[in-house]
Amino acid sequence: MSARIGAFVRKEIREIVRDRRAIILSFVMPILVYPVMFSLMSSTERKSEEKVQQEIHRVAVSGAPEVRDALADLERVEFVSLPADPKKAIADGDLEAWVEAPDTLVREGDGAPVVRIWHHVSHDKSRNAEERLQDALARAAERVKDARYQAAGGHGSLGDLVTLVTVDVATKEETAGAEAGRLVPYLLVMTLFIGAAAVSTDIVAGEKERGTLETLYLVPVPREVIARAKFFVVWGATILTGTLNLASMAWCYRSGLMGDASVDVSALSPAGLGLAVLLIVPLAAVVAGIMLGLSALARNVKEAQLQIMPVMLLAIIPGMLASGQAVKLSAMTALWPIANVALAVRDGLLGQMSLPLLGLVFVASVGWGFLVTRWTAGILSREDTILGFSPEPLFAHTVGGRRRAAMFALSATVLAFFYVGGLLQTWKLLLGLGLSLWVVLPLLGAGSLRFAGSGGRLADVLSLRAPRPLALLGAVLLALGVGVPLFYGVMKLQGLFLPMPENFMGEFGGELGEAGKPLMLFLIAISPGICEELVFRGVFLGLLRRVGTVRSAILISSAGFALIHLSVFRFAPTFLLGLVMAGIVVRTRSIFPSMLFHAVYNASVMLVIGEGLLEPTPLTWGASVALFLAGALLVRSAAARSGESTPPPGN
């Protein structure tokens, strides 16, 4: 069988090699693009730098003669007499700057005399003049100070009293690595995607378009073998593109085309580059798998590109994490797909390689590659993939079709809420918040229900049933108990590997705070309690549990709920809350307890925890846990009394 895989691989390779355009697009172009682009950029930059160096600035100085004298020896400055309207002259571009000093530098009253540099940022020359004058004036101030000191009998210069001597121990290799590490990991991820896309569209969607895929599947070998052969070819091509691109980038760096001119980037360490090549191999497997799977879903090349493009643009974002040194490669980040390799390549270029972490990155990437490949192989063996038409419409009224419809509706809701809600809130924060909760979200929910519904009474789907009083009480207790563990447990734990920027939690202050408590309670506690619950626990949980397991419905609807909170930092807490609320709905068979939970929880966060009124002491922790357990017991017992806890299967 391995001989046959070999034959397949050879066939694919021969086809690609004969496809001059694919070669040009995925191999030649990227290699040519960097040198051309970067040399053009750096030469333009150098030219304008030189121009700035030769620029002669027209400057007017008024006021104390000391200032004028201190500036007198400034080169490339033409001192002109003060025009009648200096500000207008600057705005018109007749003058670059006006140094306005007071008549004497003698101090009057409290503050030091002020010397102003009038300039105009819209004019490049004026901006450059301002920069130079800043430096010159700072030196002038030192000189005036020294002169006064010496006149009073002091010796030497005051500035020499303390000297800071810095010794930069970074080697040339390290400096070059730091410079290259800003850009190379990210570009590498991008080029891998571009290379894989060009080859994979031809190898699957292209075959479908030419009608040769069916011919191929008539051959007496298992479909997995064909899938595997195609995967190997895309993988290989991706590795090749990656390596060639890396070589091209390295060449650009070493020949000084790329990077900061002040850094000797030619010293880029070969070991770091070697490591990058090594890491391309597993990353290419992940990328090749994603691209192959996506292109297998398409019927022709055009469609394949349509599907690939958005995924590609989003998938390269994780690569940006490596664009600074802030995010470290750790046991945690080494597991993240795509980002882990970008971080490892950056560290390799910096010359900081930790072998255990490197091993972990490698293993994790191989693991991700394996998962993606399995997904791809599954798609490639499907009948609709081979025939180029789908035996079943995407959103058919079957269990599978309804599940896809519900998933699609959920994604569309998240996306539309992100966009329209964001728009409304940018326009007017409070009104926008109200509108997005009371108008946008319900509309999206109703649309989803219509689009992805699979029948059944509306009240059943949305769990609009009167709850037992005990269930309501349980929900309140749960809501009161969950705050402290969530804020001081989960968020702190998350902070260990995903630290929040300092100003993050303060975002909600400002304009919202001006609204007044009652309005705030309505917008932040009651409205989400009703609207978000109706849509996520009502519509989506209701739709999803009818076409899959209850567990997957809870997980997926909670993920959607967490996503509309629009921040990586809020994902985990809101996801957990979503799980709890979905659990309440499933247990009590009613949406009202979870509405109550949501409103009470949000209110408690706003009024108590957010204000810092509840510190994490053993007492508050104990009370919280007790409340939570009591609430959970009540909700459970309410479920037990209402009989069964699963909804009637309603297809």
């Binding site: 697009l25 540099i117 005036v144 009073a152 009998g153 031809d202 055009k302 974002i317 910096l350 400002g510």
Partner: protein, 407 residues
């Protein structure tokens, strides 16, 4: 040429394209949803980075000779922890490296006091954390220097106020709007060039190559329309789609930018105002329209050399990338907009955008730009109409660009 026929062809193209998922995704969905989503994703990445960086504490070794005031201010620095210095240190970079390896520290400060103090700092310029430690040390040293200067001044009988003979204040005469324009001038030209190209790219591919691929080229050619009418009808459609994509993109970008500005705080939104004067807006829109006319003609000409979508993409892809170059060059260049740039198609557009958005509108170069673009458009359209008249296009043979230009 009958205008009604042209209109009918354009109508047919538009109807076809709004029913095409591919087209809708590329021209409508991507600008409206995907770009804000990407911008949002990038912001999340930046927040993760800033979160991680705010937790990143550098370790600085200081010896006992350091003045107490300096030590205190270093201790007060938020992302700095003080550690004991190495027991033996020869002052060489290698010695520092050995200590760093052993202790995991980031920088080392050695102080020699006396008449004149000398502070020596060993650090690693290739590591952000070490550089941050250097900045903290420099700030603490400056503070200490002022302290010492103050002492000296008082000792010779001068007052503390002589420490600072004058302060320097930088006054920008630009208005909030001009500052906003400065930002727009830096960001928008490349973006505008990209959008102009993207919009016509898909439309031209679909209307020229797609038609041939679907086998409908022949169907429309046998209708009693003149070839010029068909061509112009399609051309109108390509221009329209390019402008649609441009407008949608600008809108979504404006929304996203105001979203970002809001997140960055009230301060900035007072200082920077992202609006354009009417005159600049009109010029940009007008030139964008002329540029769209040129782009559309160029892309249609190129697309007509291809038989299939794949071939079309292979021809247009590199051209697409190349047409970004003027935008990139303009972004890094400080050259003013003069006749020199105005005569080069595309470079003139990018430079004009930058100049006009930045508030400078030299009438000469602007007029020349428009004239050059119109002339170039007419030439390219002529070539395209010749290409459309060729029979080998009709039978589906691929022709090279050279052949096309010769004919």
């Amino acid at each position: 040429m009958r205008l009604s026929a042209v209109r009918r062809v354009a109508q047919k193209e538009i109807l076809e394209s709004v029913r095409d998922r591919n087209f809708l995704v590329n021209v409508v969905f991507l600008p409206i949803f995907l770009f804000p989503l990407i911008g949002f994703g990038v912001m999340q990445v930046m927040q993760i980075q800033s979160g991680a960086s705010s937790r990143d504490v550098a370790e600085l070794g200081i010896d006992s000779g350091t003045p107490a005031a300096v030590e205190d201010s270093l201790r007060a620095a938020e992302q700095l922890r003080l550690v004991p210095p190495p027991s033996s240190f020869d002052g060489t970079p290698d010695g520092f490296r050995a200590w760093r390896e052993a202790e995991g520290a980031d920088a080392l400060l050695r102080w020699t006091s006396g008449e004149r103090d000398t502070a020596r700092l060993w650090f690693d310029g290739s590591r952000e954390r070490s550089e941050r430690a250097r900045d903290d040390v420099a700030a603490a040293v400056d503070e200490w220097r002022l302290d010492r200067e103050r002492g000296e001044l008082v000792a010779v009988g001068l007052s503390e106020s002589d420490l600072e003979p004058f302060t320097i204040e930088s006054e920008d005469l630009a208005s909030a709007r001009q500052r906003g324009q400065e930002i727009l001038a830096a960001v928008l030209p490349l973006f505008l060039m990209m959008m102009l190209a993207t919009g016509s790219y898909y439309a031209a591919l679909d209307t020229v190559v797609g038609e041939r691929e679907r086998g409908t080229w022949e169907t429309i050619l046998v209708s009693p329309l003149a070839r010029a009418e068909i061509l112009v009808g399609k051309y109108v459609f390509v221009v329209a789609s390019s402008l649609t994509s441009l407008v949608l993109n600008l809108l979504s970008m404006a929304i996203f930018l105001s979203f970002v500005l809001r997140m960055l705080g009230d301060d900035l939104s007072e200082k920077v105002q992202l609006t354009l004067p009417w005159s600049a807006g009109l010029i940009v829109v007008g030139v964008a329209l002329v540029a769209a006319l040129f782009y559309a003609a160029l892309v249609m000409l190129l697309a007509s050399t291809a038989r299939t979508h794949r071939e079309g993409q292979a021809v247009l892809g590199p051209v697409y990338l190349l047409s970004m170059l003027p935008g990139i060059v303009t972004a890094v260049s400080q050259d003013p907009f003069t006749m020199k740039q105005a005569v080069v198609p595309l470079l003139n557009v990018a430079t004009l955008f930058k100049s006009v958005l930045g508030g400078e509108m030299p009438p000469g170069p602007i007029l020349v730009t428009v004239a050059v673009l119109v002339a170039a458009t007419l030439i390219v359209l002529r070539l395209a109409s010749r290409a459309a008249a060729r029979d080998d296009l009709f039978v589906g043979r691929q022709i090279s660009l050279k052949e096309l230009l010769k004919s």
